[in-house]
Symmetry: C2
Subunit: 446 residues, 2 copies
């Protein structure tokens, strides 16, 4: 099995009747999603995407990735939020968090346009010195401030370096199918374009061109990634709670939320899962954190964080539960050797693999934390392959949609993200925001 939800460590926290009570609500959420009758039903294109994605564009993505691999040392991916986290998380998961440092035949990949830090941008310019550079600008509209600033800077760099025509062959835009300033610019300048579908929101877009081009440039097999997602789509479509681990996960988070848990801590024992946690935090935080509701998503990497957040989880406020993502296989194995003098006292582990020791660390931790009053859900994932990742991504996307409907929110909008933007535009003096400017400045300087 690619993925399996283990609920044995919920004993004492959730009883059988609670499953029965929530099952009809899950069926109802399932129907709303699959019949397209739920809130935000204009943004459920991701549901069938693994089956009906654009095969012609998929080949163009592969061809573009092949060209980039052949003529590029540093590949700059410009995007924020859903146009950033998914691709980076997938590359760190499949390849490595040390992807850029490790010897390889594919380009270095850097992500930018996701903050307004000049220091970070200036460093990246330094890293491009003397290198062959290509760009992927990812923005539905082309006007989101953070990526637009970075794109202006890097487009300037490429035009200086390669001339306008040469640069045009190194700029790839992932944007709206037909409209928007980025699409217009790309058509005018002759940049190759890929599509951000209208019916797939940013945080659900990693399996569109948004994620696929950067992932393909890293050398990962995006065909197998889509196959994994397609398998999940088939296997996770049964409305029966008992037969659908995805829906059980969605139901359990709501059961725990309704009995007072406020924080869900996603835990992994592999450092290469760090950015996947960040992707998950956007997916769930942005989908459910609204109308004064929602579990607060947090994450830890064990055993690292057993020596930082571990104390809190063991004995702090009892307002949290953990979801642990475990992998049945490892990428590379190391066995501990015996030491003649045994100064560190580790000889009782001689001949044991680190995977085995890591598994015992998990087992020891899950028992300690449940003893401490922290419910634990455990997701067993087969391995670190592209298939497993595609499956896992779809699992979380669908669980998030069902969970949002159970919570009673629109899991596909993000109205709160506009608030800071409007204020920022006004304070920056953007044309059209003159009136707000004065009022906001008065509040800042009183």
């Amino acid at each position: 099995m690619t993925l399996r939800l283990d609920t044995q460590h919920l004993a004492g926290f959730v009883c059988a009747e609670e499953y029965k009570a929530i099952a009809p609500q899950v069926e109802c959420a399932h129907r709303a999603l699959h019949e397209g009758t739920g809130l935000g039903n204009g943004f459920i294109g991701w549901v069938d995407l693994p089956a009906n994605y654009d095969k012609e564009e998929f080949q163009r993505i592969k061809a573009a990735a092949a060209k980039i691999k052949s003529d590029t040392d540093v590949f700059i991916v410009i995007g924020i939020g859903g146009s950033y986290l998914g691709a980076r998380a997938a590359i760190e998961f499949i390849k490595s968090p040390n992807y850029n440092a490790l010897p390889k035949k594919t380009p270095d990949i850097y992500f930018t346009g996701n903050s307004i830090s000049s220091s970070a941008l200036a460093e990246l310019l330094q890293l491009c010195e003397g290198k062959e550079v290509s760009i992927n600008m990812i923005s539905k509209s082309g006007t989101t401030t953070e990526p637009a600033i970075a794109f202006r800077v890097f487009r300037g760099l490429l035009e200086k370096k390669y001339g306008k025509e040469g640069a045009a062959k190194r700029i790839y835009c992932t944007t709206d199918r037909a409209k928007g300033t980025l699409k217009q610019l790309a058509d005018k300048e002759g940049y190759e374009t890929f599509v951000v579908p209208d019916d797939v929101g940013g945080r659900y877009s990693v399996l569109t061109a948004v994620g696929l081009l950067p992932i393909a440039v890293s050398g990962a097999d995006i065909g197998r990634l889509m196959q994994g997602a397609a398998k999940a789509r088939e296997e996770l479509s049964c409305p029966d709670l008992e037969k659908n681990d995805c829906y059980r996960y969605a139901a359990l988070r709501n059961i725990l939320y309704r009995k007072g848990k406020e924080i869900e801590v996603l835990a992994s024992y592999e450092p290469c899962y760090t950015l996947m946690c960040e992707w998950w935090k956007q997916l769930f935080g942005e989908s459910e954190g609204k109308d004064g509701k929602g579990l607060f998503p947090a994450s830890v990497i064990f055993s690292t964080d057993l020596h930082s957040m571990g104390q809190y989880i063991q004995q702090g406020r009892r307002s949290l539960f953990e979801t642990v993502v475990l992998f049945d296989a490892v990428k590379q194995e190391i066995c501990l050797e015996s030491d003649a003098e045994n100064v560190d006292g580790l000889n009782f582990l001689a001949g044991k693999s680190m995977a085995y020791i890591n598994e015992k660390a998990f087992e020891g931790t899950v028992l300690a934390h449940t003893d401490g009053g922290v419910p634990n859900l455990v997701l067993h994932v087969r391995d670190f392959s592209e298939e497993s990742l595609g499956y896992l991504i779809y699992f979380f996307e669908k669980a998030c949609a069902i969970s949002g409907y159970l919570l009673g929110v629109n899991p596909f909008d993000q109205p709160g993200v506009e608030s800071y933007k409007k204020n920022m535009f006004a304070l920056l003096g953007k044309p059209g925001y003159e009136e707000q400017k004065e009022a906001l400045e008065a509040r800042l300087h009183r």
Copy 2:
């Protein structure tokens, strides 16, 4: 001023009477800390450390760093928790999160021994191939599982590469002054040793040899780091709440906690602050998360996470407050240029610096979030210098001690960290844990 706490965005959340009410408790906590009468008073060596640290050892640290810079390509730092986070956070803050990738005259620095992932360890071995390597093993006892495993592997690598004698000149141990297996081994093999003081706990240890050696190897000026901390020690010793920003921060977190806030989100607008957030999470989470109490520490980097966790912060459950760390200066500046065609519509920003735009992003966000019901504390820090970092570290350490006393816990112990370790040792079959093994295994396989 090196650091300033701005509380203007608490208007409507905290009233003047609340300061008055908590002031005597703060004075009481101050006395307990300074007179050494509070809980955990065996671990307050960090209070006067910036003034009375071991100057002879300090020179030895600088000399060791100079030698390492001269003969090492890759410097491997082995440690977990407080023996890991502080040094890494300081290097990313002062130098860069891209420190290893950027051109420089100092060694690459990698941190290991902080997880049990064989994939992560195997990758690091690959990164050492063909390179000159030195090691800093950091462990009070030498028997903590994670670093002990990594040390066994890397010590083997060095002895194979340089012979036993050659390796001995490349292994630096930061450990107990006199006892423990690592100290014994170091003395026997002739490794240079530095001291983890008895009266400074792991999470308070970044300004001891634990943090200072790796920080010095990165080329940062550890003398100025200590000067910054010494300045903070002097300036933050007044028991009067109105005159002490450190105590005001401690008091405000408790005021907000007592009125129902459960999560403190630490926010920065600079990616190089990411690991400092992790250091802060250990400091506060491990100090206060006990006896069923404590604010849950979380962190975000803006504007990046305004496009992931921003929705939750703006409109989710109203159980959180934010502490924003802002910098008055930037490391490198970039100004936005005008574009003849203005396709991205950014020309209203032409001639503006990114620092200015980032500042307006903060101002827009703080107003949006307070409008959304999220109290905001703002810490203004002068710059990214070693002095400012030393000051900031001491500020948070002292605030954490005072805050813990206000909460009514021992801010210097971490009894919960033992729970998973005991279980893990038993499950791994460590001699002496035989009895627990069977019982634990039965619970796992029922």
